[in-house]
């Protein structure tokens, strides 16, 4: 193997003129500055040429191509101030390697390594050329040509151009036209951006995206981790030749293009996965449409945003035409995506997530054989390159040789797991197959889930036993014959044997028969949970009737409704409960305590039971209206109980403690099943036992099973965790509510058991139709524990609104079908028909019950509970499950109950969560926000968390959502001024803030104060009391009229300080926040709130607000004031710096000046840019003819008028000749007139003065290396703007590449909760190991 470098002399074609960068190029440059190479990766071409000549000929061809395309020889120069220009002054270096001598079997691996090594090194655009070449000899007439290009000069479509040009160059050298039109792109772009065409295009997009924007994406992982990793995942797949042909046929018949069919199929996939058919996505467009653009190599592509209005009923061809039309429209109004995103991100409301989350790109054929000279064979040796400039990108490319389509999905690894991507790819292909077979198929009729998979996912627990048809009571009676003396029920101090139970039931059954009980006759059992209640129920069943359990403790209105609604014919009760029965009811009433049954036979009545005969009616309270009676038949009931017994592994050894109430059907399952298998139950004698009593009962009676409501399970586990008193059980089963992982972990730890069963089931599907049976310690990913699979003769389906099965991981409504569903609602045929619908997956006329619960299938077929259908809301295009927010909050320590909802107060939709603290705990809403910040996506964080003493309940014992209070900014009573000074100050506040109802104790910032208002107040205050030099810091630190007045009265040293206390105390190291230019330090308040009560924080007043306009201005002098304070306060102690924008430079300078005086743990840098290029050292301004003189005259005239003449004279006097020229240029570029409203600190002139002054300060400043730990963040929009971001790695060896905060801007990033949570994460890392509050030993980091 040999290596050498072949280089031809520099070529000077287009001259060495420099050109500016396009917006797209600026963004890529900025990404390079912050160390990101994954959003736009290196572009790599590697083609194998057989029959094309010797290596020297290939190299010559490569150089000929490099001559044609400046992209292969571009160099970039960065000027003072950060302006970047490009010039085609480089030369292509071509590396030669010979692999011909490598053994054939090792050659592929060697080639792979070689190409990896070739592509891997980062380009340093300021020193290297923008591309490098490679020629690898595999044989005499068999070579690889490789070209690696920086993405700033090359897009994927450029690679096709290069492949074609190489081919041409090898065949002949006919085309020598140099393709340098690409260089003038930026100039043309700048002109266009100032043209009316730009305004039109922008207006189009503003109109297009005004409505709710549903950002299309696949469902993201639940339980997102903390910080962003930038990790990407790829999934490759192929559309085979047969399908490709059918797609081509469909496209041709429908008058569409193949890429449009693929793009439509991709969006249909997003719609079906997301359940939203109005969506926003994007498509990559080759930017070579204009005449003269063909054959250019450069970063020319555009992104066309798509706002699609599809609908489930649309046919595919109609959808594709819609997509095509929207694409064409978008193309006509195309606008650089960098500019478009920043134009559309105007306010806080838009700043949720990225502008385009999902992107599609179709590429033409690389190395098209039809364009290849005869005798030459070209093959690409690289897989299709993916792209990383959206959360999810599908790239397809036609492989001409194979007649197939290559495809690759590239997606954020933080958001998507690999299995989901693979499935989505499979479903994309299924969509294509379906539409290729029938272009007029409606979108909702495309089946994504295959029959075999649906069969697997919907299947119940494995159970090959055959149920027998004996009804429940006959099963139980059988044990009275087999084991009459065995204990059946333990209740307080009573113990009933199987024999006693059966005899009691038999005698009562005879009496019930004579009272009119029979098939389809309802008998109300108004008896509290007891052995007698069970005997009564069995008696009703034995008499052929249907029982209705009525809890004596329930509200009389509810019970009266039940008696009437069900047409109850017989009521069994106790004499002391007689008054609970309405007097006007037409029913036979039997009082158990007054019945003499001694004459009744001990044997059961001779009655057989039909499979479809009514067994019971259970009343459920809906969230609205009156309780509905759910009617259940004998066949499904007994089969369900038998399957349950097997899955729960119940036997005559089972001794169960059933804790569920008799008002729920689950409570009946839990006595029926143990008794059916000959076991025993320990029936609690109170509605509620304390955890202590429960554990004691388990021990006393040797319980081996317990069935407990989820809510009570938590208390029980907490108690057991403390006391360690829980006896080992075989099985705990629970249900009734979502079970969070933390609760599950707790009960796993504190309640020893062999099995745990999480049960789920609406009454309409009979008791517990689904269970998740696991060993303790099992982990799960979702918010709640899975609800598992179906039990017995049932199937469960997760379906979309069109009743299509949802793919794994996609949220849909849960439907339960098969034998194990109820007959329906008593007396409500319409509601029954509405909720029990034809089962499209069954052949026997079966029905599915529509549960109203949102769920998704896991990989293993277990179903996960997500939330209620009616608790799903949409906010700014995001579908949000309120249950997920609630679950995240309930997991937090101290939170007892929680409810989240979407409020619409003042027409402004926002998420609000209400939390009820556990007894004796005070909840801090900010702390809760912070805690859930790392668990939920940004758009799911409630904008307000309101602590309540208790949740409002309606008469149905359900949460009364309407009664939840709107979160209010509590305006406390206005306390009148007590002194003259207070009265004077309050007058100023009222004037400046325009609010009359101000009291002396109101907080300036809470009543709408901001820094400009603060400055106005100070200006007025100084006129009032010129002798006291009050500063803005005084107002910030004393934000009420009363405290400010006290400060002014007191006078003294404190006045005039630059230090603002953001939070005075806390156990963590002090956080120092450095101010940006012309912004107050208040912007940091939200961050500090987020960081929590243990995080002390100090801010500094921006010098521009401090009015100290002394011209010793240097960064060192400005920083020096802050440094003094920090040294005094934190010498030898750990601390953290944070600098936003210009403040980052101050933070860095402070870090340098303080050196080892403090233990600096972290310097956070947010969007820190270098100063603009106008005043950069050495930047020579250009003027049009006569322009300079005119500007000069303008300045003289202006200086004659301004009241800040002396300040300006001082500033202008400090300028050298070049700086003054720059100043004139700067004025010439300003659109507004020179201001003369100074010198008031809030005036525009003052601001203007500060800007110029600051520019002068900065042009003098030199950044020197200093190794301090730096972590930086960048607003996504700043990249779009191509801001001149500082790469801190050039100054500190302990600096990391910046993290990108998606969907936010330079101004808003400081308030972004995505930033807050990531900063908090880094702070935690930086101070890990420190005992908070203690002065830990300083770990000195010195540059070695």
């Amino acid at each position: 193997m040999t290596n050498n470098i072949a280089q031809l002399p520099d070529v000077d074609h287009a001259g060495t003129r420099s050109y500016p960068l396009t917006l797209a190029q600026k963004r890529i440059w900025s990404l390079g500055q912050i160390g990101n190479r994954s959003v736009f990766p290196t572009q790599l071409l590697a083609l194998r040429w057989q029959g094309a000549g010797k290596a020297t000929e290939l190299i010559a061809a490569l150089h000929r191509v490099a001559d044609l395309h400046p992209a292969l020889r571009m160099r970039f120069q960065r000027f003072a101030g950060g302006r970047v220009e490009q010039a085609a002054t480089g030369a292509l270096e071509v590396q030669r390697t010979d692999l011909a001598t490598v053994a054939a079997e090792a050659r592929d691996a060697a080639l792979c390594d070689l190409l990896d090594g070739f592509a891997a090194p980062a380009f340093d655009l300021e020193t290297d050329a923008s591309a490098r070449g490679l020629v690898v000899r595999l044989g005499d007439d068999d070579h690889i040509i490789g070209i690696a290009l920086h993405p700033i000069v090359c897009d994927p479509a450029s690679l096709n151009v290069l492949a074609r040009d190489l081919s041409t160059a090898l065949a002949s050298a006919s085309d020598n036209t140099i393709k340098d039109a690409v260089l003038s792109r930026a100039t043309a772009e700048q002109q266009w951006l100032r043209s009316p065409a730009y305004d039109d295009a922008l207006a189009y997009w503003q109109a297009t995206f005004t409505e709710e924007r549903s950002c299309a994406s696949l469902p993201v992982r639940s339980n997102l981790g903390g910080g962003a990793t930038g990790l990407r995942r790829q999934h490759r797949f192929v559309i085979d030749a047969g399908l490709k042909l059918r797609i081509a046929t469909l496209a041709a018949t429908a008058g569409l293009s193949e890429p449009v069919v693929l793009l439509t199929a991709f969006n249909v996939l997003l719609a079906r996965y997301g359940g939203q058919f109005t969506l926003r996505s994007g498509a990559v467009r080759d930017g070579r449409s204009e005449p003269g653009d063909a054959g250019l190599v450069g970063r020319l592509e555009d992104i066309v945003p798509l706002r699609l209005d599809l609908s489930p009923a649309m046919t595919f061809v109609a959808a594709a035409r819609h997509v095509r039309d929207r694409y064409d429209e978008g193309e006509r109004h195309r606008l650089p995506i960098e500019r478009l995103a920043q134009e559309l991100w105007r306010d806080d409301q838009d700043m949720r997530g990225t502008f385009i989350a999902s992107l599609f790109e179709h590429r033409g054929t690389l190395a098209d054989p039809s364009a290849t000279p005869a005798g030459i064979q070209i093959t690409s040796v690289l897989p299709l390159a993916s792209r990383g400039d959206a959360d999810l990108v599908l790239t397809t490319a036609t492989d001409a040789a194979g007649g197939i389509i290559d495809a690759v999905i590239d997606a954020s690894g933080e958001l998507y797991d690999g299995a989901l991507l693979a499935r989505a790819a499979g479903h994309f292909v299924r969509i294509l197959k379906a539409v290729a077979a029938d272009g007029d198929i409606r979108l909702r009729d495309i089946a994504l889930v295959e029959a075999a998979e649906l069969d697997r996912l919907s299947a119940p627990y494995d159970d090959d036993a055959i149920d027998d048809d004996r009804p429940v009571h006959q099963w139980i009676a059988a044990h009275a014959i087999r084991t009459p003396d065995k204990t059946a029920i333990i209740h307080a101090d009573q113990s009933w044997t199987h024999g006693e139970l059966d005899q009691r039931a038999n005698r009562l059954a005879h009496r019930l028969l004579s009272a009119g009980t029979g098939p389809e006759v309802c008998v109300a059992v108004l008896v509290k949970r007891s052995p007698e209640a069970i005997a009564t129920i069995l008696a009703v069943l034995k008499a052929g009737g249907a029982y209705i359990p009525v809890e004596p403790d329930q509200p009389p209105a509810r019970n009266h409704h039940i008696f009437r609604d069900a047409g109850v014919k017989v009521i069994v009760t106790h004499s002391w409960l007689r008054d609970r029965i309405p007097t006007d009811i037409d029913a036979v009433i039997l009082e158990l305590d007054r019945l003499d049954l001694s004459a009744e036979p001990l044997t059961p009545p001779a009655i057989s039971i039909h499979h479809d005969q009514l067994a019971y009616v259970m009343y459920t309270s809906g969230s609205t209206g009156l309780p509905k009676g759910v009617a259940v038949e004998h066949g499904p009931l007994t089969h369900h109980c038998q399957s349950t017994a097997r899955i729960y592994e119940m036997s005559e050894d089972s001794r169960e403690l059933p804790f569920l109430p008799f008002s729920s059907d689950g409570g009946h399952e839990r006595w029926m099943v143990p008794l059916m298998v000959g076991g025993s139950i320990i029936l609690p004698d109170q509605a509620l036992w304390t955890p202590e009593e429960t554990l004691a009962a388990m021990r006393t009676h040797d319980a081996n099973n317990a069935s407990i409501p989820t809510t009570y399970m938590q208390q029980l586990a907490e108690w057991a965790d403390i006391s360690g008193e829980a006896p080992p059980l075989r099985l705990y089963s629970f249900g009734g509510e979502g079970l969070a992982q933390t609760t599950f972990d707790l009960l796993t730890r504190s309640l020893p058991a062999k099995w745990l069963i999480n049960g789920y089931g609406p009454t309409e599907t009979i008791m517990t139709p689904m269970v998740w049976k696991v060993r303790p310690g099992t982990r799960f990913e979702g918010t709640y524990a899975p609800i598992g699979r179906a039990v017995g003769r049932r199937r469960v389906y997760v379906l979309d609104p069109d009743m299509n099965p949802c793919p794994i991981g996609v949220t849909g409504e849960l439907y339960l079908g098969g034998e194990g569903v109820a007959r329906g609602y008593v007396g409500r045929p319409d509601t029954t028909a509405d909720r029990f619908v034809p089962d499209p997956f069954a052949a026997d006329g079966g029905r599915l019950y529509r549960s109203g619960d949102l769920t998704r299938w896991r990989e293993d077929g277990a179903v996960e509970f997500v939330g209620r259908v009616d608790h799903q809301v949409k906010l700014r295009g995001f579908r949000i499950e309120l249950g997920e927010i609630e679950a995240a909050l309930v997991e937090q320590p101290g939170v007892g109950e929680c409810v989240a909802l979407l409020r619409n107060d003042d027409g402004q939709p926002s998420l609000v969560a209400y939390v009820v603290p556990q007894a004796g705990i005070t909840l801090d809403p900010n702390e809760l926000r912070r805690a859930i910040g790392g668990k939920l996506p940004d758009y799911m964080i409630p904008s307000a968390i309101v602590p309540l003493e208790r949740l409002p309940i309606n008469p149905n014992s359900k949460l009364d959502r309407a009664a939840l209070p709107a979160p209010v900014r509590r305006m406390t009573e206005a306390v009148p001024p007590a002194t003259d000074l207070e009265a004077e100050i309050i007058e100023i506040w009222r004037d400046v803030l325009g609010i009359i109802a101000i009291g002396v104790t109101h907080d300036f910032f809470e009543i709408g104060g901001h820094s400009l208002a603060a400055i106005r107040i100070l200006t007025r205050l100084r006129r009032l009391r010129p002798q006291v030099r009050t500063t803005i810091a005084d107002l910030f630190n004393n934000p009420t009229v009363r405290s400010l007045a006290a400060r002014v009265e007191k006078g003294g040293d404190a006045i005039g300080s630059q230090v603002i206390t953001l939070r005075a105390s806390g156990s963590k190291p002090m956080l120092y926040c450095f101010p940006g230019l012309l912004v107050s330090t208040r912007e940091y308040v939200r961050l500090v709130e987020f960081l929590g009560p243990e995080q002390p924080a100090t801010g500094f007043i921006c010098y521009s607000l401090s009015e100290e306009k002394t011209r010793d201005g240097s960064v060192e002098a400005i920083t020096g004031r802050y440094v003094e304070h920090i040294r005094r306060e934190s010498r030898g102690r750990p601390c953290i710096f944070l600098g936003w924008s210009w403040g980052g430079l101050l933070a860095y300078q402070a870090a340098r000046m303080l050196g080892n005086d403090i233990d600096l743990r972290l310097v956070g840098m947010i969007d820190v840019c270098e100063i603009g290029s106008e005043f950069a050292l050495g930047a020579v301004p250009q003027f049009g003819p006569g322009e300079r003189d005119a500007l000069q005259a303008q300045v003289s005239e202006w200086l004659g008028r301004t009241r800040m003449r002396s300040e300006w004279d001082r500033l202008l006097g400090s300028m050298d000749a070049l700086t003054y020229e720059q100043f004139l240029r700067f004025i010439g570029n300003e659109e507004e007139e020179l201001p003369t409203d100074g010198p008031d600190i809030s005036s525009r002139e003052h601001t203007f003065w500060i800007l110029i002054d600051n520019a002068l300060i900065f042009r003098q400043h030199r950044m020197l290396p200093h190794d301090c730990p730096i972590h930086s963040w960048t607003a996504e929009d700043s990249l779009h703007r191509g801001l001149n971001l500082i790469d801190w790695r050039q100054y500190s060896r302990f600096a990391n590449p910046a993290e990108i905060i998606a969907g936010t801007t330079h101004l808003h990033v400081i308030g972004s909760s995505a930033f807050h949570s990531r900063f908090a994460h880094r702070v935690d890392e930086a101070i890990a190991g420190l005992g908070h509050g203690s002065a830990a030993p300083i770990q000195r980091r010195t540059r070695s």
């Binding site: 009923a313 009729d445 048809d469 029979g518 098939p519 389809e520 052929g544 009545p605 001779a606 009655i607 057989s608 039971i609 039909h610 499979h611 479809d612 005969q613 009617a631 038949e633 066949g635 007959r823 329906g824 008593v826 409500r828 045929p829 319409d830 029954t832 028909a833 509405d834 029990f836 619908v837 034809p838 089962d839 499209p840 997956f841 069954a842 052949a843 026997d844 006329g845 079966g846 029905r847």
Partner: protein
């Protein structure tokens, strides 16, 4: 009413009623009845016509039987 949103009253082999969107093949052992309309209109119609909640097989058994000795399915 949107043409796409027409529903039909359906009845199964056991005489249970429900609704099904027109244009979709009705599941096996379910049969269209003549009534069509919006979903809510279909449900309102079912409220009028579905008088016997019992599955039809059991209804026949029960109505035909006298006394307690009914054949077990």
């Amino acid at each position: 009413m949107d043409n796409d949103d027409v529903w039909q009253v359906v009845r199964n082999n056991e005489g249970r009623y429900s609704v099904w969107r027109q244009g979709r093949p009705v599941p096996r052992q379910w049969f269209f009845t003549p009534y069509t309309g919006s979903r809510s209109a279909c449900l309102a119609h079912i409220e009028i016509i579905w008088r016997d909640p019992r599955p039809s097989g059991w209804g026949r058994v029960m109505d035909g039987a006298t006394g307690a000795d009914q054949p077990q399915r």
